[in-house]
Symmetry: C2
Subunit: 547 residues, 2 copies
């Protein structure tokens, strides 16, 4: 250690003044301060913070007794149930790393992940016994399988040698649990959904998880003791770090096995929910459900959305339904959302449509992230903030992954030049707010002009008959490429191709208007993202356009 000035003399770190940052500290603090406050609700289950902390300690102790050690992986295959929540604390409390699996994956991919992550234990919900059995069959080294026998699971059977509750009973809640030796130690492993090739294992560290838990609180200016509804999958970037955020604020977690609009609306009213998260598709689902008409709350609810820019019509609809929507942006590699369209009070004076345009921007970094900017992908120099010059969105800071597990090549590429490269393209507006225009591979180049597929989609979403829209490139003899739109209509709605064409021409530059319209259901990834590569293939299979 350098000792080059008086402020470094005899002023070293010691046990009293330096402790590794870890979100595990949050649950201890909340259990001490609010032991009798409700921590978790799931169906008829209602646990206090004392109980939840005790259960997480039992889990840590039982795993340790079964030989799970620092650096081991514990995988969980479950929807938003108490076991998965408790694993966010109990697994790292014994030094292990939590690998929450995407429940929509197929057996082959699950098997790949379990093998690649070297899972020593797999805690799995009954509902997924078929896919898990197939996955286990493919594995050379099988993990200890622990069954979550949730009373609310509709199907499936028990596969393992012990149930989750039996495992908890093996644990001693008074046994001391451990903070990590270093805040750089891994806390979780999250595989990207990767549209091609094998998924990559993104490793989170305790420091980053601690910081982005706070980042969420500051971004939302969360109140004390919030009531958070789990509409966002907890397996998705560790529920965007909200298991840790809500716990830090002493809040209540309301579990949901799935996003059924009726269940969502009921839970909001029954449990006085104050906050929830979800991709724009979830808002779409709520808005277009028959229950929406009957939903009438005297207070406002906070919803954070990310994953795609929320279309104006959706924002307006949610506003009328009583939701204050915050638009955030991030990726698995940055612990979920870590930028937001931080709202300026004076924007409330603008027309709703104008507000929606402002809100669709990805905005500015969280307080806890160090840098977020748009750069020339070659020189890494920031682009001009003119709202026009495109570049790649880059991050730097403490809410960035350790890297990809056992993949130094991909890690090195992602961090090239000392920045995390998102692969998303966008612009910086003169007011400093950043807006995504596209993924690099989604841009459409027509007659030498770049067309943002997102911009075209946003325009289509404004049409009252359109439920979902995805735009990709189709080959064109003269222009090289032109936009090809895949459209799902709202239930009961109808529109012709000509009507949509006319609508587009009214709402955007002519060269950006789709030349092809295909009415169809849209293929989606397991995390609900539209699979553009499938649509791209479908567009490529069409004959080359001539006119």
């Amino acid at each position: 250690m350098k000792k080059n000035n008086k402020y470094d003399q005899d002023l070293d770190q010691n046990e009293a003044n330096h402790v590794p940052l870890s979100p595990l500290s949050y649950i201890r603090r909340t259990a001490e301060a609010f032991p009798n406050h409700t921590a978790l609700i799931h169906g008829d289950i209602n646990y206090t913070w004392y109980e939840t902390y005790t259960r997480s300690r039992r889990l840590a102790s039982a795993l340790a007794a079964r030989g799970v050690m620092k650096g081991d992986t514990v995988a969980v295959m479950a929807p938003n149930v108490p076991a998965l929540f408790e694993a966010h604390f109990g697994v790292p409390q014994c030094g292990a790393v939590l690998n929450a699996l995407n429940i929509r994956l197929d057996a082959a991919t699950i098997a790949f992940i379990l093998a690649h992550g070297e899972a020593k234990v797999l805690i799995t919900d009954r509902e997924f016994s078929t896919v898990i059995r197939d996955a286990l069959d493919k594995l050379e080294h099988k993990p200890l399988v622990v069954d979550i026998d949730d009373a609310l699971a509709q199907s499936g059977e028990l596969l393992g040698e012990i149930t989750y509750e039996q495992l908890l009973n093996e644990g001693d809640p008074e046994s001391p649990w451990i903070l990590p030796d270093s805040e750089w130690d891994a806390i979780s492993l999250n595989y990207t959904s990767g549209t091609t090739g094998n998924p990559k294992g993104v490793v989170y560290h305790h420091r980053g998880a601690y910081m982005n838990a706070i980042g969420n609180i500051l971004a939302w200016a969360m109140p004390k003791l919030p009531v958070y509804l789990w509409t966002l999958p907890m397996f998705h970037c560790n529920g965007w770090c909200f298991p840790w955020s809500v716990t830090a604020m002493g809040g209540t977690h309301v579990c949901l096995r799935g996003v059924d609009p009726k269940a969502v609306f009921d839970a909001i009213q029954k449990h006085d929910v104050t906050h929830l998260c979800g991709a724009p598709i979830v808002m779409n689902l709520l808005l277009n459900s028959p229950e929406a008409a009957d939903f009438n709350l005297s207070r406002r609810i906070n919803m954070m959305t990310a994953g795609a820019p929320p279309p104006a019509a959706v924002l307006e609809g949610m506003d009328k339904l009583g939701f204050d929507v915050t638009h955030a942006y991030g990726l698995t590699e940055v612990y979920g959302p870590v930028t937001l369209c931080d709202w300026h009070p004076e924007w409330n004076e603008q027309a709703l449509a104008e507000q929606a345009i402002l809100k669709a921007r990805q905005g500015v970094k969280y307080q806890v992230q160090e840098e977020f900017f748009v750069a020339d992908p070659k020189t890494l120099e920031p682009v001009v903030a003119d709202g026009k010059t495109m570049g790649e969105l880059m991050f730097r800071g403490n809410v960035v992954m350790k890297g990809y597990l056992k993949n130094p090549k991909a890690t090195k590429a992602a961090f090239s030049g000392g920045l995390f490269h998102t692969g998303d393209l966008g612009v910086k507006h003169p007011d400093g707010y950043i807006e995504i225009r596209d993924r690099s591979k989604d841009i459409i180049i027509s007659g030498g002009e770049n067309i943002s597929s997102i911009e075209v989609e946003s325009a289509l979403y404004r049409h009252s008959a359109v439920m979902e829209a995805a735009v990709v490139a189709r080959s064109h003899e003269k222009w090289g490429e032109t936009p090809c739109a895949f459209i799902t209509l709202k239930p009961g709605a109808s529109v012709t191709e000509d009507e949509l064409k006319a609508f587009c021409r009214e709402n955007m530059a002519h060269f950006k208007c789709p030349t092809t319209f295909i009415f169809t259901d849209l293929p989606k990834t397991s995390t609900g993202k539209i699979q553009k590569y499938i649509l791209r293939t479908r567009a490529e299979e069409l004959e080359v356009q001539v006119e």
Copy 2:
């Protein structure tokens, strides 16, 4: 670095995923996201965040150009004016350490601090020219003296070779400023007011300042864009870290040169103040001012208090006046407040008097502190949480000083056993909340029973005629010691010794009742704390009581 498992292989820290934590990052973020929002108000001055950030960068650049380097000290002698606020960013932005001086100190102490801290630059407000001139006369190595020529200063003259505004003009706002090399680097130096002996220089690090800035936000669940009134001296533990907290939330700092009740009430109404801080004495001052009767606001204001448990009558009065009071606790060594009486909603159902008793407790640690408990000072084992067993309050965590500057002996003693020893004595209640009973040296031992001077004072404060009360030990032939009360009455109020005696006997155990009452003004330290050691001397000079 250990490489003992797969999660440590090829997953090192790099420029993209690890940046030193520093509150300097907050001002850059706020200047980027809210450049045109008001950052600072002082009289007719109104700076935006763009301007404030620019001014802090000018300061950093000008200091660097004048040879100020990493590890140098820059002292500031000023009330709550823009220059002192800007110094919280500009000084560390050039790598230097901010030493904000207590403006109530005498020349000899100031001279000691400037010499001990090796201040290279002294930025000083005109109003304090007399004491500063005397202090400078005593110094062998004189710092560069920079005058703050504040239009609102009522007196004094310019002493230095340059004014603060001239210094800023020397700086280049585009010149790059620096984050610390390490988050363990010093950011500020705060001398304790030490009732005896020379003051000790408490060194804060960037990591701790960053963390407690967040700690304040979470403790208060601060909203976005708060308006913060500077009733708390910024020289006091760096304004309890609020220069950094409010900046992180994009808020507005409203400066005040002094705590005049009329100015406070006016500022609250004029600038829509949402938050302010101050010792209980400040609340007392507001409540007992003639302006309180006319103060009528349709909204609630948040006030954080620390430094002494707020008396019940004061809490009730403030509640009626429209203030939601949060009671916090800390010391210079832990960056100001770092525990709070975190409120349970169900406590609102109790009677106001009962609520005041609950609120007078120091409570639980901030989210960002690791440990806060009451321990046997010898064994360091936690005491039983029975609300009775006394012990010493201990801290451990990331919001604890680096140590005392050039004082390894005192540093070692403060951190003995891997804990920070507060010197405060208290109990832990069965619900986990901690309550101070006394400083070790303030306890009164009567007939072998410990009497908490704070408990006796709290009872006295409940009497309607009492403005301030301080209780110390007086020697007694039979009992060893008995409580001796020093009382200041409210303006216009009157009460006899017998009436107070009867009041005490109704409100506490007889052995705790003061046997002596002295009606007088109370001596105070420069930070407004009652100087019990002076009262103790006065009590010792009384003859030994016999009955």
